[in-house]
Amino acid sequence: MFKLEEILNILSMLILISAFILVANKRVNSYIKTFRLQSMLLAAAAGTLGIYHMAAERKFDSAIIMCLLIILLKVIFIPGMLNRICKRVEYKVEKDFFINIPISIIICCGLAILVWYVISLIPDIKGAYEIMFLTNSISLVMIGLFFMISRKKAIGQIIGFLVIENGMFMAALLTTFGMPMIVEIGIFFDVLAAVLIMGVFVFRINESFDSIDIDKLRNLRG
Protein backbone atom coordinates (compact mmCIF):
# COMPACT_ATOMS: atom_id res chain seq x y z
CA MET A 1 0.00 0.00 0.00
CA PHE A 2 2.69 2.45 1.05
CA LYS A 3 6.19 2.75 -0.24
CA LEU A 4 8.86 1.98 2.36
CA GLU A 5 10.41 5.43 2.00
CA GLU A 6 7.03 7.05 2.54
CA ILE A 7 6.54 5.32 5.90
CA LEU A 8 10.10 5.97 7.03
CA ASN A 9 9.76 9.59 6.01
CA ILE A 10 6.66 10.04 8.13
CA LEU A 11 8.20 8.20 11.08
CA SER A 12 11.33 10.35 10.90
CA MET A 13 9.16 13.47 10.89
CA LEU A 14 7.27 12.16 13.93
CA ILE A 15 10.58 11.60 15.72
CA LEU A 16 11.56 15.19 14.95
CA ILE A 17 8.19 16.39 16.29
CA SER A 18 8.79 14.43 19.49
CA ALA A 19 12.11 16.26 19.88
CA PHE A 20 10.28 19.58 19.65
CA ILE A 21 7.77 18.38 22.23
CA LEU A 22 10.71 17.45 24.46
CA VAL A 23 12.06 20.99 24.22
CA ALA A 24 8.64 22.39 25.14
CA ASN A 25 8.47 20.29 28.32
CA LYS A 26 9.74 21.27 31.70
CA ARG A 27 8.78 18.40 33.99
CA VAL A 28 11.35 15.68 34.44
CA ASN A 29 8.81 12.87 34.19
CA SER A 30 7.50 14.27 30.93
CA TYR A 31 11.08 14.37 29.62
CA ILE A 32 11.27 10.67 30.31
CA LYS A 33 7.85 10.00 28.78
CA THR A 34 8.70 11.90 25.63
CA PHE A 35 12.04 10.15 25.33
CA ARG A 36 10.26 6.82 25.65
CA LEU A 37 7.85 7.83 22.89
CA GLN A 38 10.73 8.88 20.67
CA SER A 39 12.50 5.56 21.18
CA MET A 40 9.28 3.69 20.39
CA LEU A 41 9.03 5.57 17.10
CA LEU A 42 12.66 4.76 16.36
CA ALA A 43 11.99 1.09 17.10
CA ALA A 44 9.00 1.25 14.77
CA ALA A 45 11.23 2.66 12.03
CA ALA A 46 13.80 -0.10 12.51
CA GLY A 47 11.04 -2.72 12.61
CA THR A 48 9.40 -1.48 9.41
CA LEU A 49 12.74 -1.45 7.66
CA GLY A 50 13.48 -4.99 8.80
CA ILE A 51 10.08 -6.35 7.82
CA TYR A 52 10.20 -4.76 4.38
CA HIS A 53 13.68 -6.08 3.73
CA MET A 54 12.75 -9.54 4.94
CA ALA A 55 9.71 -9.56 2.69
CA ALA A 56 11.76 -8.39 -0.28
CA GLU A 57 14.82 -10.59 0.10
CA ARG A 58 13.34 -13.60 1.90
CA LYS A 59 16.13 -13.81 4.45
CA PHE A 60 16.64 -12.64 7.99
CA ASP A 61 17.48 -8.97 8.41
CA SER A 62 19.47 -7.59 11.34
CA ALA A 63 17.21 -4.51 11.60
CA ILE A 64 14.73 -6.73 13.49
CA ILE A 65 17.33 -7.36 16.18
CA MET A 66 18.00 -3.62 16.30
CA CYS A 67 14.29 -3.04 16.81
CA LEU A 68 14.17 -5.53 19.70
CA LEU A 69 17.33 -4.05 21.25
CA ILE A 70 15.89 -0.52 21.09
CA ILE A 71 12.68 -1.68 22.73
CA LEU A 72 14.61 -3.51 25.44
CA LEU A 73 17.13 -0.76 26.19
CA LYS A 74 15.69 2.59 25.24
CA VAL A 75 11.98 1.96 25.77
CA ILE A 76 12.09 -0.21 28.88
CA PHE A 77 15.43 -0.18 30.66
CA ILE A 78 16.87 3.36 30.41
CA PRO A 79 13.59 5.27 30.99
CA GLY A 80 12.84 2.94 33.91
CA MET A 81 16.22 3.66 35.42
CA LEU A 82 15.80 7.40 34.92
CA ASN A 83 12.40 7.18 36.60
CA ARG A 84 14.01 5.49 39.59
CA ILE A 85 16.66 8.23 39.76
CA CYS A 86 13.95 10.83 39.44
CA LYS A 87 12.10 9.40 42.43
CA ARG A 88 15.18 9.53 44.67
CA VAL A 89 15.99 13.13 43.77
CA GLU A 90 13.68 15.74 45.24
CA TYR A 91 13.15 18.20 42.40
CA LYS A 92 10.46 17.55 39.84
CA VAL A 93 10.11 20.71 37.76
CA GLU A 94 12.88 22.57 36.06
CA LYS A 95 12.44 26.20 37.02
CA ASP A 96 15.29 28.37 35.90
CA PHE A 97 16.38 27.97 32.31
CA PHE A 98 19.22 29.73 30.61
CA ILE A 99 16.76 30.51 27.81
CA ASN A 100 12.99 30.42 28.27
CA ILE A 101 10.89 27.82 26.49
CA PRO A 102 9.27 29.73 23.60
CA ILE A 103 12.62 31.18 22.57
CA SER A 104 14.35 27.82 22.82
CA ILE A 105 11.66 26.26 20.60
CA ILE A 106 12.24 29.01 18.06
CA ILE A 107 16.00 28.45 18.27
CA CYS A 108 15.43 24.75 17.62
CA CYS A 109 13.36 25.61 14.57
CA GLY A 110 16.21 27.83 13.41
CA LEU A 111 18.61 24.93 13.91
CA ALA A 112 16.39 22.65 11.81
CA ILE A 113 16.23 25.22 9.02
CA LEU A 114 19.99 25.68 9.18
CA VAL A 115 20.47 21.93 8.89
CA TRP A 116 18.14 21.81 5.89
CA TYR A 117 20.16 24.55 4.24
CA VAL A 118 23.50 22.90 4.95
CA ILE A 119 22.33 19.48 3.76
CA SER A 120 20.96 20.99 0.57
CA LEU A 121 24.43 22.37 -0.16
CA ILE A 122 25.97 18.89 -0.25
CA PRO A 123 26.15 18.09 -3.96
CA ASP A 124 26.33 14.30 -3.81
CA ILE A 125 22.99 13.58 -2.17
CA LYS A 126 20.39 12.66 -4.72
CA GLY A 127 16.74 12.08 -4.08
CA ALA A 128 14.26 14.01 -1.92
CA TYR A 129 13.90 11.14 0.55
CA GLU A 130 17.59 10.96 1.40
CA ILE A 131 17.74 14.72 1.97
CA MET A 132 14.69 14.51 4.19
CA PHE A 133 16.05 11.58 6.24
CA LEU A 134 19.39 13.29 6.72
CA THR A 135 17.94 16.66 7.66
CA ASN A 136 15.54 15.11 10.14
CA SER A 137 18.20 13.05 11.86
CA ILE A 138 20.88 15.76 11.93
CA SER A 139 18.27 18.20 13.23
CA LEU A 140 17.54 15.70 15.97
CA VAL A 141 21.24 15.64 16.88
CA MET A 142 21.37 19.44 16.95
CA ILE A 143 18.20 19.68 19.06
CA GLY A 144 19.63 17.15 21.50
CA LEU A 145 22.80 19.21 21.74
CA PHE A 146 20.80 22.36 22.34
CA PHE A 147 18.65 20.58 24.92
CA MET A 148 21.80 19.54 26.74
CA ILE A 149 23.15 23.07 27.01
CA SER A 150 19.83 24.75 27.76
CA ARG A 151 18.85 22.62 30.76
CA LYS A 152 20.57 23.14 34.08
CA LYS A 153 19.65 19.91 35.80
CA ALA A 154 21.63 16.73 35.30
CA ILE A 155 18.71 14.50 34.25
CA GLY A 156 17.84 16.93 31.44
CA GLN A 157 21.40 16.64 30.23
CA ILE A 158 21.28 12.84 30.28
CA ILE A 159 18.12 13.01 28.16
CA GLY A 160 19.83 15.41 25.78
CA PHE A 161 22.69 12.96 25.39
CA LEU A 162 20.26 10.15 24.64
CA VAL A 163 18.46 12.28 22.06
CA ILE A 164 21.76 12.96 20.32
CA GLU A 165 22.37 9.21 20.25
CA ASN A 166 18.89 8.60 18.84
CA GLY A 167 19.63 11.13 16.10
CA MET A 168 22.89 9.42 15.15
CA PHE A 169 21.21 6.02 15.12
CA MET A 170 18.41 7.35 12.96
CA ALA A 171 20.86 8.89 10.49
CA ALA A 172 22.72 5.58 10.18
CA LEU A 173 19.55 3.51 9.95
CA LEU A 174 17.68 5.57 7.39
CA THR A 175 20.45 6.58 5.03
CA THR A 176 22.50 3.38 4.93
CA PHE A 177 19.69 1.01 5.98
CA GLY A 178 21.61 -0.14 9.02
CA MET A 179 25.25 -0.33 9.96
CA PRO A 180 26.90 -3.70 10.50
CA MET A 181 25.34 -5.52 13.40
CA ILE A 182 28.47 -5.61 15.53
CA VAL A 183 28.97 -1.82 15.30
CA GLU A 184 25.38 -1.15 16.34
CA ILE A 185 25.61 -3.46 19.32
CA GLY A 186 28.86 -1.81 20.33
CA ILE A 187 27.23 1.63 20.23
CA PHE A 188 24.30 0.36 22.26
CA PHE A 189 26.50 -0.93 25.04
CA ASP A 190 28.49 2.30 24.99
CA VAL A 191 25.32 4.27 25.57
CA LEU A 192 24.14 1.87 28.23
CA ALA A 193 27.42 2.18 30.13
CA ALA A 194 27.43 5.96 29.77
CA VAL A 195 23.89 6.25 31.11
CA LEU A 196 24.65 3.90 34.02
CA ILE A 197 27.70 5.95 34.97
CA MET A 198 25.82 9.21 34.63
CA GLY A 199 23.02 7.83 36.78
CA VAL A 200 25.48 6.96 39.54
CA PHE A 201 27.00 10.43 39.21
CA VAL A 202 23.59 12.05 39.67
CA PHE A 203 23.16 10.13 42.93
CA ARG A 204 26.60 11.16 44.15
CA ILE A 205 26.11 14.80 43.20
CA ASN A 206 22.74 14.81 44.89
CA GLU A 207 24.19 13.30 48.06
CA SER A 208 27.12 15.63 48.41
CA PHE A 209 25.58 18.91 47.22
CA ASP A 210 21.90 18.35 48.20
CA SER A 211 20.96 19.35 44.67
CA ILE A 212 21.71 18.29 41.13
CA ASP A 213 21.93 21.81 39.82
CA ILE A 214 25.11 21.90 37.79
CA ASP A 215 25.71 25.53 38.78
CA LYS A 216 26.60 24.32 42.26
CA LEU A 217 29.38 22.08 41.02
CA ARG A 218 31.83 24.97 41.23
CA ASN A 219 32.78 24.74 44.87
CA LEU A 220 34.95 21.88 46.05
CA ARG A 221 34.17 19.69 49.01
CA GLY A 222 36.46 17.25 50.69
Binding site: M1, F2, E6, N9, I10, S12, M13, L14, L16, I17, F20, I21, A24, K26, I101, P102, I105, I106, C108, C109, A112, I113, W116, S120, A128, I131, M132
Partner: protein, 312 residues
Protein backbone atom coordinates in the same frame (compact mmCIF):
# COMPACT_ATOMS: atom_id res chain seq x y z
CA UNK B 1 -30.04 30.95 -7.09
CA UNK B 2 -32.75 28.91 -5.42
CA UNK B 3 -30.39 25.96 -5.11
CA UNK B 4 -27.85 28.24 -3.38
CA UNK B 5 -30.40 29.30 -0.79
CA UNK B 6 -31.37 25.70 -0.10
CA UNK B 7 -27.72 24.82 0.39
CA UNK B 8 -27.21 27.72 2.80
CA UNK B 9 -30.26 26.74 4.83
CA UNK B 10 -29.20 23.08 4.99
CA UNK B 11 -25.71 24.06 6.08
CA UNK B 12 -27.06 26.39 8.79
CA UNK B 13 -29.39 23.67 10.07
CA UNK B 14 -26.59 21.09 10.20
CA UNK B 15 -24.31 23.52 12.02
CA UNK B 16 -26.83 24.70 14.56
CA UNK B 17 -28.17 21.21 15.22
CA UNK B 18 -24.84 19.46 15.56
CA UNK B 19 -22.88 22.09 17.50
CA UNK B 20 -24.38 21.65 21.02
CA UNK B 21 -24.34 17.88 20.50
CA UNK B 22 -20.55 17.92 20.00
CA UNK B 23 -20.05 19.81 23.27
CA UNK B 24 -22.44 17.38 24.96
CA UNK B 25 -20.56 14.35 23.66
CA UNK B 26 -17.21 15.68 24.86
CA UNK B 27 -18.70 16.35 28.31
CA UNK B 28 -20.29 12.90 28.46
CA UNK B 29 -17.06 11.15 27.48
CA UNK B 30 -15.16 13.06 30.12
CA UNK B 31 -17.75 12.16 32.74
CA UNK B 32 -17.70 8.45 31.83
CA UNK B 33 -13.93 8.31 32.13
CA UNK B 34 -14.08 9.95 35.54
CA UNK B 35 -16.63 7.29 36.66
CA UNK B 36 -19.44 9.80 36.79
CA UNK B 37 -22.73 9.31 35.05
CA UNK B 38 -22.69 12.78 33.51
CA UNK B 39 -25.47 14.82 31.97
CA UNK B 40 -27.24 13.58 28.86
CA UNK B 41 -25.57 14.44 25.56
CA UNK B 42 -28.61 16.57 24.74
CA UNK B 43 -28.25 18.70 27.87
CA UNK B 44 -26.83 21.54 25.75
CA UNK B 45 -30.13 21.94 23.91
CA UNK B 46 -32.15 21.97 27.15
CA UNK B 47 -29.84 24.62 28.61
CA UNK B 48 -30.23 26.78 25.52
CA UNK B 49 -34.04 26.45 25.60
CA UNK B 50 -34.11 27.40 29.26
CA UNK B 51 -31.83 30.38 28.71
CA UNK B 52 -33.91 31.65 25.82
CA UNK B 53 -36.98 31.71 28.08
CA UNK B 54 -35.28 33.69 30.85
CA UNK B 55 -35.15 37.45 31.27
CA UNK B 56 -32.14 39.50 30.29
CA UNK B 57 -30.44 41.57 32.97
CA UNK B 58 -28.16 44.31 31.70
CA UNK B 59 -26.00 46.45 33.94
CA UNK B 60 -26.79 50.18 34.06
CA UNK B 61 -23.21 50.96 33.21
CA UNK B 62 -23.22 48.89 30.04
CA UNK B 63 -23.19 50.63 26.67
CA UNK B 64 -24.69 49.45 23.37
CA UNK B 65 -21.64 47.25 22.78
CA UNK B 66 -22.72 44.97 25.57
CA UNK B 67 -26.16 44.28 24.07
CA UNK B 68 -24.94 44.15 20.47
CA UNK B 69 -22.06 41.73 21.09
CA UNK B 70 -24.05 38.48 21.34
CA UNK B 71 -25.71 39.15 17.98
CA UNK B 72 -22.46 40.23 16.30
CA UNK B 73 -20.63 37.19 17.66
CA UNK B 74 -23.40 34.81 16.63
CA UNK B 75 -23.76 36.24 13.12
CA UNK B 76 -20.03 36.42 12.43
CA UNK B 77 -19.48 32.82 13.49
CA UNK B 78 -22.47 31.62 11.46
CA UNK B 79 -21.19 33.53 8.43
CA UNK B 80 -17.79 31.93 8.88
CA UNK B 81 -19.42 28.49 9.05
CA UNK B 82 -21.02 29.08 5.62
CA UNK B 83 -17.54 29.21 4.07
CA UNK B 84 -16.62 25.88 5.68
CA UNK B 85 -19.56 23.61 4.88
CA UNK B 86 -19.86 20.10 6.24
CA UNK B 87 -19.42 18.40 2.86
CA UNK B 88 -18.18 19.77 -0.49
CA UNK B 89 -21.62 19.45 -2.07
CA UNK B 90 -22.92 22.17 0.24
CA UNK B 91 -20.71 24.95 -1.14
CA UNK B 92 -22.97 27.84 -2.00
CA UNK B 93 -20.38 30.57 -2.45
CA UNK B 94 -16.70 31.18 -2.00
CA UNK B 95 -13.87 33.09 -3.56
CA UNK B 96 -10.08 33.12 -3.61
CA UNK B 97 -8.80 33.92 -0.15
CA UNK B 98 -11.94 33.10 1.80
CA UNK B 99 -9.78 31.05 4.19
CA UNK B 100 -8.32 34.36 5.39
CA UNK B 101 -11.82 35.79 5.70
CA UNK B 102 -12.90 32.88 7.92
CA UNK B 103 -10.02 33.49 10.32
CA UNK B 104 -10.90 37.15 10.56
CA UNK B 105 -14.65 36.56 10.89
CA UNK B 106 -13.78 34.51 13.95
CA UNK B 107 -11.53 37.35 15.06
CA UNK B 108 -14.35 39.92 14.76
CA UNK B 109 -16.48 37.90 17.12
CA UNK B 110 -13.63 37.58 19.55
CA UNK B 111 -12.83 41.29 19.34
CA UNK B 112 -16.38 42.26 20.26
CA UNK B 113 -16.48 39.66 23.01
CA UNK B 114 -13.34 41.15 24.54
CA UNK B 115 -14.79 44.66 24.23
CA UNK B 116 -18.01 43.62 25.93
CA UNK B 117 -15.97 42.05 28.71
CA UNK B 118 -14.34 45.38 29.41
CA UNK B 119 -17.55 47.33 28.87
CA UNK B 120 -19.28 46.66 32.16
CA UNK B 121 -16.24 47.47 34.23
CA UNK B 122 -16.30 44.21 36.17
CA UNK B 123 -12.79 43.17 37.14
CA UNK B 124 -13.30 39.49 36.31
CA UNK B 125 -14.58 40.07 32.79
CA UNK B 126 -11.85 42.57 32.02
CA UNK B 127 -9.26 40.05 33.15
CA UNK B 128 -10.88 37.41 30.92
CA UNK B 129 -10.74 39.79 27.95
CA UNK B 130 -7.08 40.59 28.31
CA UNK B 131 -6.23 36.89 28.67
CA UNK B 132 -8.32 35.98 25.63
CA UNK B 133 -6.58 38.61 23.54
CA UNK B 134 -3.19 37.32 24.65
CA UNK B 135 -4.04 33.74 23.71
CA UNK B 136 -5.57 34.72 20.39
CA UNK B 137 -2.56 36.85 19.49
CA UNK B 138 -0.40 33.80 20.09
CA UNK B 139 -2.62 31.36 18.20
CA UNK B 140 -3.77 33.36 15.19
CA UNK B 141 -0.41 33.45 13.34
CA UNK B 142 -0.11 29.67 13.46
CA UNK B 143 -3.66 29.23 12.19
CA UNK B 144 -2.98 31.56 9.26
CA UNK B 145 0.25 29.74 8.53
CA UNK B 146 -1.49 26.35 8.54
CA UNK B 147 -4.18 27.58 6.15
CA UNK B 148 -1.61 29.21 3.86
CA UNK B 149 0.47 26.07 3.71
CA UNK B 150 -2.58 23.95 2.97
CA UNK B 151 -3.73 26.41 0.33
CA UNK B 152 -0.37 26.60 -1.42
CA UNK B 153 -0.03 22.80 -1.51
CA UNK B 154 0.52 21.61 -5.09
CA UNK B 155 -2.68 19.55 -4.82
CA UNK B 156 -4.70 22.67 -4.10
CA UNK B 157 -3.07 25.84 -5.40
CA UNK B 158 -5.64 28.30 -4.11
CA UNK B 159 -6.60 29.83 -0.80
CA UNK B 160 -10.32 29.14 -1.00
CA UNK B 161 -11.94 26.37 0.97
CA UNK B 162 -13.69 25.09 -2.14
CA UNK B 163 -10.34 24.44 -3.85
CA UNK B 164 -8.86 23.03 -0.64
CA UNK B 165 -11.73 20.54 -0.28
CA UNK B 166 -11.49 19.55 -3.91
CA UNK B 167 -7.70 19.22 -3.87
CA UNK B 168 -7.65 16.85 -0.92
CA UNK B 169 -10.71 14.85 -1.88
CA UNK B 170 -8.83 12.73 -4.42
CA UNK B 171 -9.15 9.09 -3.37
CA UNK B 172 -6.23 7.24 -1.81
CA UNK B 173 -3.54 8.27 0.60
CA UNK B 174 -1.87 10.87 -1.61
CA UNK B 175 -2.41 13.63 0.93
CA UNK B 176 -0.32 12.01 3.68
CA UNK B 177 3.11 13.58 3.85
CA UNK B 178 5.47 14.93 6.52
CA UNK B 179 4.20 18.46 6.11
CA UNK B 180 0.64 17.19 6.45
CA UNK B 181 1.55 15.56 9.79
CA UNK B 182 3.21 18.71 11.12
CA UNK B 183 0.20 20.80 10.13
CA UNK B 184 -2.26 18.32 11.64
CA UNK B 185 -0.55 18.39 15.04
CA UNK B 186 -0.29 22.17 14.88
CA UNK B 187 -3.99 22.36 14.00
CA UNK B 188 -4.95 20.15 16.96
CA UNK B 189 -3.13 22.50 19.35
CA UNK B 190 -4.84 25.45 17.66
CA UNK B 191 -8.30 23.90 17.98
CA UNK B 192 -7.76 23.19 21.66
CA UNK B 193 -6.62 26.75 22.34
CA UNK B 194 -9.34 28.36 20.23
CA UNK B 195 -12.19 26.40 21.75
CA UNK B 196 -11.01 27.03 25.32
CA UNK B 197 -10.34 23.38 26.10
CA UNK B 198 -8.39 22.13 29.08
CA UNK B 199 -4.68 22.59 28.63
CA UNK B 200 -5.36 26.23 27.86
CA UNK B 201 -8.66 27.03 29.56
CA UNK B 202 -11.22 25.03 31.50
CA UNK B 203 -14.69 25.14 29.93
CA UNK B 204 -16.46 23.74 32.99
CA UNK B 205 -15.47 26.31 35.57
CA UNK B 206 -17.58 29.29 36.41
CA UNK B 207 -15.86 30.99 39.28
CA UNK B 208 -12.17 30.46 39.20
CA UNK B 209 -9.30 32.86 38.94
CA UNK B 210 -7.91 30.91 36.01
CA UNK B 211 -10.87 31.04 33.65
CA UNK B 212 -10.58 32.83 30.32
CA UNK B 213 -13.57 32.29 28.06
CA UNK B 214 -16.13 31.85 30.84
CA UNK B 215 -14.86 34.99 32.57
CA UNK B 216 -15.92 37.15 29.64
CA UNK B 217 -19.46 35.75 29.77
CA UNK B 218 -19.96 36.38 33.49
CA UNK B 219 -22.14 39.46 33.03
CA UNK B 220 -24.42 37.92 30.43
CA UNK B 221 -27.79 36.36 31.14
CA UNK B 222 -30.88 35.07 29.38
CA UNK B 223 -30.91 34.93 25.61
CA UNK B 224 -27.64 36.87 25.37
CA UNK B 225 -25.89 34.12 27.29
CA UNK B 226 -27.64 31.51 25.15
CA UNK B 227 -26.37 33.18 21.99
CA UNK B 228 -22.83 33.37 23.36
CA UNK B 229 -22.92 29.70 24.35
CA UNK B 230 -24.25 28.49 21.02
CA UNK B 231 -21.74 30.65 19.14
CA UNK B 232 -18.89 29.13 21.14
CA UNK B 233 -20.06 25.62 20.27
CA UNK B 234 -20.55 26.55 16.60
CA UNK B 235 -16.99 27.87 16.53
CA UNK B 236 -15.81 24.57 17.94
CA UNK B 237 -17.75 22.65 15.29
CA UNK B 238 -16.35 24.93 12.57
CA UNK B 239 -12.76 24.21 13.56
CA UNK B 240 -13.49 20.49 13.82
CA UNK B 241 -15.02 20.67 10.34
CA UNK B 242 -11.83 22.20 9.02
CA UNK B 243 -9.87 19.25 10.42
CA UNK B 244 -12.46 16.77 9.07
CA UNK B 245 -12.43 18.03 5.53
CA UNK B 246 -8.85 19.14 5.14
CA UNK B 247 -6.94 16.56 7.13
CA UNK B 248 -9.22 13.49 7.00
CA UNK B 249 -10.72 13.88 3.53
CA UNK B 250 -12.01 10.30 3.07
CA UNK B 251 -15.18 9.88 1.13
CA UNK B 252 -16.10 13.53 0.93
CA UNK B 253 -16.70 13.18 -2.79
CA UNK B 254 -19.14 10.28 -2.41
CA UNK B 255 -22.91 10.72 -2.59
CA UNK B 256 -24.53 13.36 -0.40
CA UNK B 257 -26.07 11.00 2.17
CA UNK B 258 -22.93 8.88 2.45
CA UNK B 259 -20.72 11.97 2.75
CA UNK B 260 -22.93 13.42 5.47
CA UNK B 261 -22.83 10.17 7.41
CA UNK B 262 -19.06 10.04 7.13
CA UNK B 263 -18.88 13.69 8.20
CA UNK B 264 -20.85 12.99 11.38
CA UNK B 265 -18.63 9.99 12.08
CA UNK B 266 -15.48 12.07 11.61
CA UNK B 267 -16.79 14.81 13.88
CA UNK B 268 -17.51 12.20 16.55
CA UNK B 269 -14.00 10.73 16.24
CA UNK B 270 -12.36 14.15 16.54
CA UNK B 271 -14.50 15.09 19.54
CA UNK B 272 -13.36 11.81 21.07
CA UNK B 273 -9.74 12.77 20.44
CA UNK B 274 -10.29 16.20 21.99
CA UNK B 275 -11.96 14.59 25.00
CA UNK B 276 -9.03 12.20 25.44
CA UNK B 277 -6.54 15.07 25.29
CA UNK B 278 -8.65 16.95 27.82
CA UNK B 279 -8.84 13.98 30.18
CA UNK B 280 -5.12 13.32 30.04
CA UNK B 281 -3.90 16.82 30.67
CA UNK B 282 -4.08 19.41 33.39
CA UNK B 283 -4.84 23.07 33.01
CA UNK B 284 -1.71 25.05 32.25
CA UNK B 285 -0.64 28.14 34.07
CA UNK B 286 -1.47 31.13 31.92
CA UNK B 287 2.20 31.88 31.44
CA UNK B 288 2.83 28.37 30.11
CA UNK B 289 0.37 28.90 27.26
CA UNK B 290 3.05 30.66 25.15
CA UNK B 291 5.09 27.43 25.26
CA UNK B 292 2.31 25.48 23.57
CA UNK B 293 1.53 28.31 21.19
CA UNK B 294 5.20 28.44 20.23
CA UNK B 295 5.09 24.71 19.59
CA UNK B 296 2.04 25.09 17.34
CA UNK B 297 3.66 27.96 15.47
CA UNK B 298 6.97 26.18 14.98
CA UNK B 299 5.30 23.00 13.75
CA UNK B 300 3.38 25.11 11.25
CA UNK B 301 6.61 26.83 10.16
CA UNK B 302 8.31 23.45 9.70
CA UNK B 303 5.30 22.20 7.75
CA UNK B 304 5.53 25.26 5.54
CA UNK B 305 9.27 24.72 5.03
CA UNK B 306 8.86 21.05 4.33
CA UNK B 307 6.05 21.71 1.90
CA UNK B 308 8.07 24.28 -0.01
CA UNK B 309 11.62 23.00 0.20
CA UNK B 310 10.82 19.37 -0.48
CA UNK B 311 7.46 19.78 -2.10
CA UNK B 312 6.05 17.16 0.24
Amino acid sequence: MFQGIVKIVVQLIITAALAPLVSGIIKKLKARVQHRKGASVFQGYFDLLKLFKKDVVVSHNASWIFTATPYIYFVSILAASLFVPAIPQLFSFGFIGDAVLVVYLIAIGRFFMALSGMDTGSTFTGMGSSREMMISALIEPSMMLVLFTVGLNPLVGSLSFQAIYKGFAAPGWGFVSPSYLLLLISMLIIVIAETARIPVDDPSTHLELTMVHEAMLLEYSGRHLALMEISASIKQLLLITVICNVFIPFGSNAGVIQALGLYVLKVLVISGVIAVIEINSVKLRLFSVPNHAALAFILAVLGFMSSFVFGR
